[in-house]
Subunit: 349 residues, 2 copies
DNA sequence: TCGCGGACGGTAAACGATTTCTGCGAATGG
DNA sequence: CCATTCGCAGAAATCGTTTACCGTCCGCGA
């Protein structure tokens, strides 16, 4: 605290320094540097530019933000930045928004309500122009109230909110459509001629698994295929869960294909089926969901529904850009696409 | 630009608002809110706190940073935030530094010099208190000059630089010691009784592979084990590279164990060895390097040297904390540790 | 009684930009 | 030929803080 001033051996170069060197007022320098619409004579402009260049002038964003009330920053809340899901998403965001001059604050809540609130408040203090909820909301009533107050205050001051997850906060949204994406997988199998498709559902207390399960039933019925209980099994979102569920389905339902609620389960299913003597894909096809890097190096490279994580971020940024420019863009809707590898074939005749 | 003022329907609540409500001067409010050492009567303090609470006052960090010349932010340059390596590292940094009130700007250079420079300049403009180079430096002479100028200017103004990678920038360092870590693996195998250890080297034009290769030779000689060319093969840092190299080594050198320069190669090696009829670990042991998530779900779960990515970030943050407090902390040195799984056993007698 | 120091609070000058106003000379137009 | 407009530049207010500097009041020791 004491040596605050002595910290800067060399003086910061400010507008004033440039102005002195160029022998003009700071106003003029500001106008040149910030490309203001206010006219500046060509000769003057040149002098200013030269001076700025010579001093290595970098306008101070903080000062600028203070007066314009725009910080050109975006605060992003993720659950865990070391999770590639969020990594990809943040990358998509960043790649797209940086060209507009926005910079990202990234914060991992670690699924801890207190921590998330701390970050939200920090973002407010740093006057971010937009708040991105890439992390889904947490179960905690007190937290919910706080978040709502904060967001309301934030928006009442012109802040933009973007939601990229299952969240109670209302704002612009990029939504990955689990429903349609599940249908894509079902249609893909149906088009190949499969009529008895098994389904490995996730734990029913998770929104995602409920959505995917429901969508599966609808898609199957829409195509006029069989939906019955012997073709469906539940399990945890893990390799182990996939193994058990797959065995259960094959023993009871005689499927020609199995769709799993995520890749881990699909991998477990493959393993179990292989071990039980079924050939993949000749005897039975397997389809996953997510497209983890793992899917590619699996014993039988896995055909799966890709969740377009990067694009969620990217589309979010595009939406953000427009919202920040004062438009009112429509929400975005994304559906997965099939990544064909080697775990699927047409059913045997 | 036009509607800048109309953006804020509700006025921002500032020190002034609180001061008015509490009927004191802004100076007093500031002193209360920022826990200044300047004395404030208890009764006054209470009034201020109550007013602040009632208005939901959040001090504006930007304004504060402007006058204190401390933004409480840190700029981090990574190659690619979607790469779990950097994700882990950033997480470690964040987890440790956030308690001190610092927030992170995270930027992916994408290994593009221009882009990295753009971010570096932005960090300067945002007056970050510290710069973290988590990404290794790029090969580009012009870029190098620019970076050096920037960093020099940054430091001359009191900024702290932290380097967590192979980089020409001088600054505080957390260094992962490839040398000692390789020795750890060799010692581990030697302790189990292995005398003929094969080594799969990476491409010789990468610093990391050169270090690991050299360290392997040194460690082996130190233990008085055999080092000869028939036990060493080179390959690309990939599954394919590992396969070929492993086959080459077994055919020529009769090793009882193989150490690979990274997990991907080790996985490839395992696959190839298995396919060639060797049993792992009964006939031959395999050790990797990195500890990717993949290592755990491999056909034979891989024993490997863990690179403590999270700790690199974490130790970096600790170092940063001290440097920011004005101390001059020593650099940190980290070595990998063996993660035992199932690909290693003692050699057969 | 006087002087001094500490507690407490306020005034005002920064920090580094943007932007509104004003001023002035030159061009334009009726 | 005078009034108006336009191009261009500067002065000064402003954003929301922190903090150096001053006053005041009070208690206490000499």
């Amino acid at each position: 605290m004491s040596n605050r001033r002595t910290l800067s051996a060399r003086e910061r170069v400010s507008l004033r320094a440039v102005a002195e060197l160029a022998e003009v007022s700071v106003a003029t320098v500001s106008r040149v540097m910030s490309r203001s619409s206010h006219p500046v004579a060509d000769e003057t402009r040149k002098r200013v530019l030269a001076a700025a260049e010579r001093l290595g002038f970098q306008p101070n964003q903080l000062a600028r933000a203070l007066v314009t009330a725009r910080s050109q920053t975006v605060g992003v809340i993720v659950h865990d930045i070391s999770d590639p899901y969020f990594g990809e998403l943040v990358k998509g965001l960043e790649d797209e928004i940086r060209a507009d001059g926005y910079r990202l604050f990234v914060a991992s809540s670690d699924r801890n309500p207190a921590r998330e609130l701390e970050y939200l408040r920090a973002f407010e203090a740093y006057q971010v122009d937009a708040l991105v909820f890439a992390a889904s909301s947490l179960e905690d009533p007190a937290y919910r109230d706080e978040v709502e107050t904060l967001v309301e205050r934030f928006e009442s001051r012109g802040g933009i909110t973007l939601v990229l997850s299952e969240h109670f906060v209302e704002g612009h949204k990029v939504h990955f459509d689990n429903r349609s994406s599940t249908a894509v997988a079902v249609d893909y199998l149906a088009d190949l001629g499969h009529r008895r498709i098994g389904f490995i559902a996730g734990p029913p207390d998770l929104t995602v698994s409920r959505h995917r399960h429901q969508a599966f039933q609808e898609a199957v019925e829409k195509r006029g295929l069989t939906y019955d209980d012997s073709l469906v099994a539940e399990g945890s979102f893990s390799i182990e869960g996939g193994k058990r569920a797959a065995l259960e389905i094959v023993s009871g339902g005689e499927p020609t294909a199995i769709l799993a609620s995520n890749d881990l389960m699909a991998l477990g299913a493959s393993r179990a089926l292989l071990d039980a003597g079924h050939r993949i894909p000749q005897d039975i096809s397997v389809v996953g969901f997510d497209d983890l890097p793992l899917a590619e190096v699996a014993p039988v490279p896995l055909t799966t529904v890709r969740v377009p994580t990067y694009d969620i971020g990217r589309e979010g940024a595009i939406l953000l850009r427009r919202a920040l420019a004062g438009e009112d863009p429509d929400d975005v809707h994304l559906v997965g696409e099939i990544v064909e590898r080697r775990s699927v074939a047409a059913p045997r005749a």
